[in-house]
């Protein structure tokens, strides 16, 4: 019960920070509010007993903040002007109301928070990993034993995504260009 209150407070804080990030005119304050959302998410992961995710979230958040601040700090900020389209707003509000009603009925019959249904059955993969993870892989950290042993193929896919992104960025933004005749030009 106690953890519910902490998570609720963190979620309200993150929602307010996200609203500020969307609505503020200044780009730099928007970026800093986005950082507040990330750090709130990291604390939420920590309270939900996922220290691996919390470490990754806080490290990536710091790097992302540096990138975004360096990208925005020297730019001129252009305040956006325009009128609100009321029918669009009404449509979005209707859609959100529908999702909320659907979510209330969909989550009504689920189990309590922190007691996943899948752990009630002994032979599910998650229980298997928890029971046999240490002796089969030698890794005491179950998260690592899953992402680098049981599900290493997924991790290879993630590494490929990162590699392809870097290759694309380097190919587009290379400092040396080629002319039409194919000779290298500095």
């Amino acid at each position: 019960m106690e953890i519910d209150i902490i998570i609720f407070v963190l979620l309200v804080f993150m929602a307010i920070a996200a609203l500020i990030a969307v609505e503020t005119k200044n780009l730099l304050s928007s970026v800093i509010s986005l950082g507040a959302v990330g750090f709130g998410l990291s604390m939420a992961f920590l309270f939900l007993r996922a220290p691996d995710l919390a470490i990754v979230q806080i490290a990536v958040e710091v790097v992302l903040l540096i990138f975004l601040i360096r990208a925005t700090i020297s730019r001129d900020t252009i305040p956006e002007t325009g009128r609100i389209r009321w029918w669009g707003l009404a449509f979005v509000l209707l859609l959100m109301a529908g999702v909320l009603v659907f979510g209330y009925f969909a989550f009504h019959d689920l189990g309590n928070f922190g007691e996943p249904i899948i752990s009630a059955v002994k032979s599910t993969p998650s229980n298997l990993y928890l029971r046999e993870g240490l002796e089969k892989t030698g890794a005491a950290n179950i998260v690592t034993s899953i992402i680098l042993d049981y599900r290493a193929y997924d991790t290879l896919g993630e590494a490929t995504v990162l590699f392809t992104a870097i290759i694309g960025a380097l190919a587009i933004l290379r400092s040396r260009t080629k002319t039409d005749k194919g000779e290298r030009k500095k």
Partner: protein, 160 residues
């Protein structure tokens, strides 16, 4: 990109080693405690980004250039793939943990998990060099229009 003030430089000189070592610690004990290749790699990249911000781009690029970062990026991706492919020969399936099967080692020790340690190190090097390259691309290079009308990317001479 020029460096920052004397205070930042002095603090960076003291702190950089500890940030780097914390990243290395997260990588090599990723199978025993929270952490792992990705978070450790991001923190190592953070230490280099801090050096670049504090001392200017020449300081970092002269010691850890983009060429080295590219080579590290590609070779660590290749190491991770080879670790997976070697599972075919030894364990029969892709990414089989053959080292742990063959040399089980002590439980809860540093070398007790076989392939996972090697994969963690490879992913850590890969993420560190990738993020460092992203930072260099995004912050040091800049698009300018030359005198002949051709747009090209240069390393920016000074900070606005």
């Amino acid at each position: 990109m020029k460096g920052m003030s004397l205070i930042v430089k002095t603090v960076t000189r003291w702190v950089k080693v500890f940030i780097f070592l914390f990243g290395v610690y997260l990588i090599i004990t990723g199978h025993l405690s929270p952490g792992g290749g990705f978070s450790g790699g991001v923190i190592i990249a953070c230490s280099y980004i801090l050096l670049t911000l504090a001392f200017g781009k020449e300081f970092t690029l002269n010691r850890f250039g983009t060429g080295i970062a590219k080579v590290l990026d590609s070779s660590s991706a290749l190491i991770f793939l080879i670790v997976g492919l070697l599972g075919f020969g030894s364990g029969g399936v892709f990414f089989a943990n053959y080292l742990q099967k063959r040399f089980p080692g002590e439980e809860l020790s540093l070398l007790g998990s076989g392939n996972i340690l090697i994969s963690n190190i490879a992913i850590g090097i890969k993420v560190a060099s990738s993020l460092f390259l992203v930072f260099i691309i995004l912050s040091v290079l800049r698009l300018v229009t030359g005198t002949d009308g051709i747009k090209r990317i240069v390393q920016d001479e000074e900070e606005e």
